[in-house]
């Protein structure tokens, strides 16, 4: 098992370094062609960590020096004043052209924002429920997760004894989550919440790991995704909260004088807990991606500032740092899934705890 992880890790890292480098080599020729200006990595990094309507892979430069982005088109689904429109993101031609459906004209900006106007140039309100890069990545992750767990579960039908193969890999993880996170923090009433918390853990973990693959999306580093997950925790905590929990909020065991301060704080705490969950996961994962991309960008900053020689000088150091951060990110991928699940379990545990 250890060697397997080791091999997987090495492949991940080597690939990432390779792809990221080619990526940025292509970007190395900014469209503005302004010489002597230091390379600014911020737009590329922001582009990477944000959602998009197309799955951008790399750019290439044709003979005339014009830059062509290469990306996988994704389905765009728009609900505009009662009409459901469906087309591929390639119809936008990377934002160079608009798409017209009956009387609705759609255009996309550089932040992958789609806006709609009708034929009279009046703007229309739209619900953009496209299969974006993050949604597509999430679907792939979830499918892989399902197949892995299905294989694990099938293993128990054939093999009643010690776990083997994928079983041996996932069983300790599943039992760790159940016994050391869920059971340990919720107490005797843990059974009801097992399925939700196990799903949360594996959903975050697989998306964190998939996010580390080169060219992949930043799913768990997107605030919308973490928002949904923390809202689930919030709903479950609030719905399963017992009398004791509410008593503690509206009638905390404090002197009467402190009541006007304590009660608002407790009420506020009900919302800050899931809010912190949302921000923690989003910020940690995004920060990891930014760190890796920034360290890679060092090479191009050096090149734009001091030429090719400096770039070659900085490259080994930069790659070494990226390798180091990548290893840390693998740990963070697990750690953040663990922390999210742990804190969710703690919050639920507080909500269902009996008075003693």
């Amino acid at each position: 098992m250890k060697t397997k992880i080791h091999i997987l890790r090495s492949v991940l890292i080597s690939l990432s370094v390779f792809v990221s480098t080619t990526n940025i080599f292509a970007e190395n020729h900014p469209e503005e062609k302004v010489e002597k200006e230091t390379y600014n990595p911020v737009p590329k990094i922001m582009h990477h960590i944000q959602n998009s309507h197309e799955w951008h892979l790399f750019d290439y430069k044709d003979n005339e020096g014009k830059l062509h982005p290469v990306s996988i088109p994704l389905p765009v689904i728009l609900y505009t004043s009662g009409n459901l429109d469906f087309f591929m993101s390639s119809d936008f031609h990377h934002g160079h052209s608009d798409v017209q459906k009956e009387n609705r004209i759609y255009s996309i900006d550089e932040h992958s924002h789609i806006t709609a106007v009708n034929t009279e140039q009046k703007s229309m309100s739209i619900f953009d429920i496209s299969i974006t890069k993050n949604v597509a990545s999430m679907l792939i992750s979830v499918l892989i997760l399902f197949l892995l767990l299905r294989a694990t579960s099938a293993g128990y039908k054939k093999n009643k004894y010690a776990p083997k193969k994928i079983q041996a890999f996932l069983e300790p993880l599943i039992l760790f989550v159940r016994d050391d996170i869920i059971k340990a923090n919720i107490g005797p009433k843990y059974k009801k919440y097992t399925f939700f918390l196990l799903t949360v853990f594996f959903f975050i973990f697989i998306n964190n790991l998939m996010g580390l693959l080169p060219g992949s999306a930043n799913v768990t580093g997107n605030v919308s995704v973490t928002l949904v997950l923390s809202v689930f925790t919030f709903i479950i905590t609030t719905v399963s909260a017992n009398k004791n929990y509410w008593k503690h909020i509206f009638n905390p065991p404090t002197p009467l004088v402190l009541m006007p301060i304590m009660v608002p704080i407790e009420i506020f705490g009900v919302f800050t807990k899931p809010f912190a969950l949302m921000i923690r996961l989003f910020a940690n994962i995004t920060a990891g991606h930014i760190t890796i991309l920034s360290l890679i960008s060092l090479i191009f900053i050096a090149q734009s500032g001091a030429g090719n020689g400096a770039a070659w000088g900085v490259a080994p150091l930069s790659v070494l740092f990226v390798l180091f951060i990548y290893l840390i990110e693998l740990l963070v991928a697990f750690l953040q899934a663990y922390i999210f699940t742990l804190l969710s379990a703690v919050f639920i545990g507080l909500a269902v705890k009996e008075d003693h």
Partner: protein, 164 residues
């Protein structure tokens, strides 16, 4: 800021995907996996308990066996001791009996010897008496053939009577 603005589409799909994942995994992964693991844990525990029980039974059986062995040994010893005692008794008894019998025989023999002796003595006495009488007769006959000697004898006899 763009980075922290939630997108309605992503929220929509995340909710759907997560709920579907929850339902699907609950049915196809968590329930069967956890049930199988719990069942396996239970079977391991049962097996361990059964092994423990068997071990205890074996131990009890062993001590039982030992106890029986010790008892059997004791019984054997007792039997041997008893046998030895019986043997000794028999021997002593036989010795006593033999001695008694021998004593009896000895006594009878002594008595018989005594009787025979007495008989012999009596016979000898009688014979001696007869012989004495014969001798006396012969002496008397020879003595009494001479008158003087008769007178002398009478006188002597009288003399001894007087002394008595």
């Amino acid at each position: 800021m763009e980075l922290v603005t939630p997108e309605i589409g992503l929220i929509f799909w995340t909710t759907i995907v997560f709920l579907l994942l929850l339902i699907v995994l609950k049915k196809y992964a968590w329930k069967p996996i956890l049930a199988a693991v719990d069942e396996r844990n239970k079977s391991i525990e049962d097996a361990l308990k059964a092994a423990d029980k068997a071990k205890k039974e074996m131990l009890a059986l062993n001590t039982d066996n030992e106890r029986i062995l010790i008892q059997a040994r004791k019984e054997r010893d007792a039997l041997l001791k008893e046998g030895r005692e019986i043997k000794d008794n028999i021997i002593t008894e036989a010795k006593d009996k033999a001695k008694l019998e021998a004593d009896k025989i000895l006594i009878t023999a002594k008595e018989q010897i005594n009787n025979e002796k007495m008989k012999a003595i009596t016979e000898l006495k009688n014979q001696v008496a007869e012989m004495s009488i014969d001798i006396a007769e012969k002496i008397l006959k020879s003595e009494l053939s001479d008158k003087n000697k008769q007178k002398e004898l009478i006188a002597e006899a009288l003399k001894s009577n007087e002394l008595n």
